[in-house]
Symmetry: D2
Subunit: 370 residues, 4 copies
C-alpha cells in the first residue's frame, strides 16, 4: 500500500491524540493509504526525542521550518498552540503539503484568512480537526437530521462546560493568555459548540455575546508572582441562523462537576435530538409518534452506526480518542481521492468569524453580524 | 379555629390548582387559620355553579366586583387571565382584602405598578403565586445556597421548554393573543425561570433578549378562519445579575418531547445545583470533595426537607399540585402573623420589569437595563 | 348523586392515604356514586377523634365490631396492621358490606382463604389495595403489553428496595414482629413486586426463595431493652411463571440510598419495559425498530394515558397518593356496576400463596410449587 | 528495555482486543518490559497471515503446538474458544511460558483443575483475562469498598443482559453449542457478573440456579438446516457469600434493548455502589450523610482514579478496549516482578466451580455448595 508520511508539529495533549489516531487507524479500518509516523517536531530536542519514542515516530526534529519543507513528508499535522498555527500552515501549504490543523484554526480572523488563502493558492488539501463531528453519535445525529427525522430545525442549544480553573489558585497557564490562546473558553470550548451548530444546523448570521472573566489574576506557573488573565472564563451568545433557527452557545470553565460537558439539544418541527460528550456513545432522540413518544437513548454502537463496524459488537463503547481516529480515517480517504475533506480551513475561518463577532458583540453590547 | 374565607375569581386550570390547595392544606398541615372555600366567581353562571360543586365552594357568583367587596371575604384569590388581574386586585385591595394573584402579576409594567401601589396604599397583604419556589427540591436548593454549599454563584441557566403548540394546526387560543396574555412563552413560562433566578441567585440588572414567533397565523378556535399570533413562541435572554453572576433564560413552546421542562442549573464557586420540574422530587447537587465527587441526586422526600414532614415517608413522591398547597400554607401563616409573604407584588413588579426589558431588548437589539 | 358511606378502620399511614383518596376522587373524576367519609375507627378514642377532624370524617368510633355492622355503612375500608385484617373483613362481609382491604390480605394463607370464603359466601364485593397497579405508568405498561408491543414475555425482574432499618439502632417496630406483620420485607414490599408480576406477566407456578435477617435484635421502642427481630430483612426468589416466563423478586430494607425503589424490568420477544416508583410518572419502553432503537422515557402524563385526563396538562406530574385515588375511583365504579373489581381477595390469596411458597422454599432449600 | 515476546493463539474478537492491548500499552503507560507482538497463530494460514498484518504481528503460524514451545516466546496469550483453552495452556505451561488466557478458563471444572495444576507444577505465571475488573470505575469501586466507604456488604445484585440472539432466526453459532462453548449465557456473560462478585464481595459458598433455553433450535450457519441449541439462553442464581452477604446473578441474551448491560449494585451497611458497563466511565456511589445524601455519579476519569493518569484529562472518556490495555499493563508488571497477577487460574477454577454449582443446582432443583 502507498505510504502517507506524516510530520506532526507539537507533542502535547493534542500530539498524543493525533499520533494515536495515525497509529491506530489502519489497525481497525481498511485505509487506501498507509500512514507512517515519519517525524515529530518540537522546540525542545530532548522532549521531541522522548515523544518520538513514546508516540512511535521514526524521527524527531526541532525546526518546523525544515520539517514542513522536507520532501519526504506528505501531511503536516499541526498540534501546537493557536499562535503558531498560521506560520506553520502557510509554510506547509507553500511546500505543497496536505495541512491538517488542530482547532481553533487561528487566533484571529486575519490569520485564518491568510491560512485559507495560502492553502487555496497552493492547491493543497486542508482539514481542521473538529474531532467531535466524528463521534458516532454526532454523525448519527447528522444522518437523522438529513433524513428529516426531526423536521425543520427551530432551536439549537449548545453548552460546553468544564471546571478545571474554578479554583482561583490554579495557575495562569498558557490557555489563559490572550497572546498564546487567542481567547479563553470561547475559542477553546465554545468553539466546539459552534462548530457542531454549523455542522448540524447551518450558518450563523448574527450574534449577541457576553464574555466574563471571574478570576482576573492568578499565580504564575513558575511561582514568580501573579499574572493577569486576559481571556474570558465564560462566553455566552444568542445566535440567529441563516435558516431562521435560533439558538444559544456557551462555554465556561467555571462549572463545578461539569468535566467535559459538551452538550447540545436541537429541536425541530417534529422531533428533538440531544447529545452529551460525557456520554458520547449515546444519542437522545425524540420523534413525535403520539402519546407514547419519549426521548429514547440510542446506544450508538451498532455496526449500522457511523464508523462503528470497524470496532466492537453493540454496547461495547468507544472513547474520546476514537473521534480522532475517525477524523484521520476520513482525511486519508480524502487524500486518496484528492478531494477536500470537511471541516476544512473554510470552516475554520467561518468559525473564527463567528467567534470574532461574539467578541465584538461583547464590546459593542449589540447584535453583530458574522 | 378562626376561619379564613376565600373568594376565588376564575375556575379554569389555575382555579383547579388553587382550590385544591385551599381544600387540602388543612388535611396535612396544622394551619393557624382554617380556610373556607366561600365563593367561586366566573362570568358564566352555569359554569360557576358547576365549578362550585366540583371544587367544593359554598357559593358561586358572576360579579367579581360584588365578590371582592363582600364583607364576609378575607382573601381574594385571582385565577383569571392576565388582562383582568389589575382591576380585580386593585378593587380587592381597596376593599381591604388579602390579595393572592396568579402569575404573571399583570400584562404590563404599568399595571403591575398600579397593583403594587394599591396594595401598599391599602395596607393589605399580597402574594403572587410563583408556586415552583415551593417544590421541596427548589426550597432545598435555596437552603443549600444560603448555607454556602456551592459558594458564590457565577452561573444561572434557566430553560422552560414545552411542545404543546408545535403543530401549526393547533388553534390560536387566548394564550397566543397579546391582548389577553400579554406575551407568549416569555410571560407564561420564561417568567418562571426568571422568578426562580431571582429567588435563588438575586436581582437581574440588565438583559439582552431575542424573541421569535415561528408560526405567525393559526386557525381560530371557532373554525371561522385564521388569526394572527402576536406573541412570542420562544424567548431567550442573556442576563447579568447585580451580584456579578451571569446567566441565560429561555422559554419555548416549540421543543418536541419537552412537556414541562422547567430546568435550571446553578454553578457556584465550590459546587453546582440542577433541577428539572419533570422530576420535581429530585435535586442534583455537586459539591467539590476531591476526585470522588459527582452530581448526586437527592430525592427531596425526607422529612427533613422543606414541607415534606406533612406528607409521606421517604421515596413517596409528591406531584405538581403540592407546590400550590405549600404556597397556600405559607400564605395562611403570613396572614395569621400579619406579615408580608413572598413572593409578593414587589416580586411581581420586578419580574414584569425584567420581562419588559427583555421585550425592549428584542426590539432595540441591545442590552437593556431593568 | 347516591352516597357511598365509608367506614375506615385504622388511621395510621394507610388511613391517611385512603381517606385522602375518598375525599379527592370526586373533585377530579366524575364518579357515579359520591363517597361520604362516614366514620373512622380506632382503638384509642382520642386518636380516633383527632383523626376524624384531621382527615374529614363525620364521626369516629372505637369498636370496629359495631362499625362494620352499622346499617348506614356501605364500604368497610381496612387500614390496620395485617393481623387484624381477617376478623374485620370477615365480619364486614357477614354484615353485607363492600370490603376494601389494605395489602397484604392477611398474615397467612389460612387467614386469606377464610377471608375469601367469607366474601364469596356473603356475596359482597371485595378489593385489595395494591395501589401501584394504578400508577398511570404501570397501567400504561399493562396496556402496551396487552397490545403486544413487547411480544411474548420472557423475563420479569422485580426489586423493591428501601433503607429505613439499615441502622441497627433503629427500634423494633411492629413491622419487625412476625406476630403483627406476618413477615418482613417479603410481605411488606416484595409483595408489591409480586403483585405487579402477576398483574403484568401472569401466574407464578413455582419459586426458590432466600430469606435473611441481618440484624436479629433491636432496641424496643419503649426503651425497656431489646427485642428479637423474627421477620426477614431481605427476601429474594427465583420464579417460574405458568406461561414459561422466568423471573426474580426481591425485597430488602437494607439498601442505603434506595428510598422506595420499586423497580421492575420486563423483557419480551420484541421489546422491554421498565419502571421505577421513585420516578413513577415515567415508563421506559424499548421496541425493536432497527439500529436506531433505544429505551425511551415516556412521561406518562398525557391525557391519553390511564387516569391522567382527570388531572393536569402533560408534564405536570402526579404523586404517590394519586395511586390510591385511582384505586378508589375504580372501586366506586365497580360498586356502582355491581362488578367485582381487581385486584380482589382472590389476588390477595394468590399473592399470599406465593409468599408462603417463598417462605417454605427458604426453609426446604428447594423449589416449591405455589 | 527488555522485550516481552508474545504469541497469540486465535485472532477473532478477543484476538483483536488482546493484540490492541499489547500494541497500545507502551504508548500510554511506562512499562518495565516492552511487549513485542511476535507471532499470531490460527488454523487457517491465510487468515493468520492477514491477521498478522492487520494486528501488527511480526509473524504468523498455524500450529499452536509449535508456537507454544518456541524458545523465543515469553507469553502465550490464548484467545480461542473455550474448548481448546486446556490443551494450549497446559502445553504452554509445560514449555515454561507465562500463560494469559481468555475467560472462561475452561469448559469444565475438570479442565480448569488440570490447567491450574499444570501452571503450578510448571511454576509459571498465569492470568485469566476478566478485563472488566480493570475498568477504572470498577477498580475505583474496589478501592472504595476496601476503604470502608459503604461498610460491611449485605447485597450483591449482578445482571449481564444482551439481546443479540432474541431473533429466533439468528443462526446457531458456536457460542450456542455446548461442545464448543461449554455453556451459554452462563459462561459467556453471567461469568463476568460472577467474577466481579468474587472480586468485590468475596467467595460464594452456595447457589440456587435456574437455566432456561427459550429457542431450542436454530438455523445452521451454512444454511443446511437447523441445529439444536444445547446451552442456556438465560441463567439466574441466588447466591450466598462466605462472609454472609447474599446476592443474585443473571445472564441473559434475550433482553431487547440491553446491548451489553453488565450491571451490578452492591449495598453495604453505610452505602451503596452501582455500575453499568454501557456507561463504563461512571460509578454510582451512595454514602449515608443525612437527608441530603443521594446517589452520586462519579465520572471515573480523574487522574486520581485507577489507570486514568495515563490517558486524558477529566471527562474524556475511555472505551471498552481500554480494560484490556489495563489488564495487560498489570500482567507486564507482574511478569517483571515475577509475582502472580490476579485474577489468575485459581480464580478461573473458582469461577468454574461456581458456574458448575449453578448448572448442578438447575438440575437438582436445590441449593448446591460450591
Amino acid at each position: 500500500m502507498t505510504k502517507l508520511n506524516v510530520a506532526m508539529i507539537g507533542y502535547g495533549f493534542m500530539g498524543r491524540t493525533h499520533s494515536n489516531a495515525w497509529r491506530q487507524v489502519g489497525r481497525f479500518f481498511d485505509t487506501p493509504l498507509e500512514p507512517e509516523l515519519a517525524v515529530v517536531c518540537g522546540r525542545d530536542a530532548d522532549g521531541a526525542q522522548q515523544a518520538a519514542g513514546k508516540l512511535g515516530f521514526h524521527a524527531h526534529a526541532t525546526s518546523w521550518e525544515e520539517v514542513v519543507t522536507s520532501p519526504g513528508i506528505d501531511v503536516v499535522d499541526i498540534c501546537t498552540p493557536g499562535d503558531s498555527h498560521a506560520p506553520i500552515a502557510i509554510a506547509a501549504a507553500e511546500a505543497g503539503k496536505v495541512v491538517f490543523c488542530e482547532k481553533p484554526l487561528a487566533n484571529s480572523v486575519g490569520e485564518a484568512k491568510q491560512m485559507l488563502d495560502a492553502v487555496v493558492k497552493a492547491g493543497v488539501l486542508h482539514m481542521i480537526c473538529h474531532n467531535y463531528r466524528r463521534a458516532p453519535a454526532v454523525m448519527l445525529a447528522k444522518r437523522l437530521i438529513e433524513a428529516g427525522r426531526i423536521g425543520v430545525i427551530r432551536h439549537y442549544r449548545g453548552t460546553y462546560l468544564q471546571d478545571w480553573i474554578v479554583d482561583p489558585e490554579f495557575p495562569r497557564v498558557w490557555r489563559l493568555e490572550k497572546a498564546r490562546a487567542g481567547s479563553g473558553a470561547l475559542g477553546d470550548i465554545a468553539s466546539h459548540s459552534l462548530d457542531l451548530a454549523r455542522f448540524l444546523v447551518g450558518e450563523i448570521s448574527e450574534v449577541s455575546g457576553l464574555l466574563e472573566t471571574f478570576v482576573k489574576e492568578r499565580p504564575l506557573e513558575d511561582g514568580s508572582g501573579t499574572g493577569v488573565v486576559d481571556v474570558d472564563d465564560a462566553a455566552l451568545a444568542l445566535v440567529r441562523f441563516e435558516n431562521a433557527a435560533i439558538g444559544s452557545l456557551e462555554g465556561s470553565r467555571f462549572c463545578p462537576g461539569r468535566k467535559n460537558y459538551n452538550r447540545f439539544e436541537i429541536n425541530g418541527a417534529t422531533g428533538s435530538i440531544a447529545f452529551d460528550l460525557e456520554r458520547m456513545n449515546e444519542l437522545e432522540l425524540y420523534v413525535e409518534e403520539g402519546p407514547d413518544s419519549g426521548f429514547r437513548t440510542i446506544l450508538a454502537t451498532d455496526e449500522a452506526h457511523p464508523y462503528v463496524a470497524a470496532w466492537w459488537p453493540p454496547g461495547h463503547i468507544l472513547g474520546y480518542e476514537h473521534t480522532f481516529i475517525h477524523t484521520v480515517h476520513d482525511l486519508i480517504a480524502a487524500v486518496h481521492a484528492d478531494a477536500l475533506p470537511t471541516p476544512n480551513f473554510e470552516d475554520g475561518l467561518r468559525n473564527q468569524q463567528v467567534l470574532d463577532a461574539i467578541e465584538r458583540s461583547g464590546e459593542t453590547r449589540g447584535w453583530e453580524s458574522v
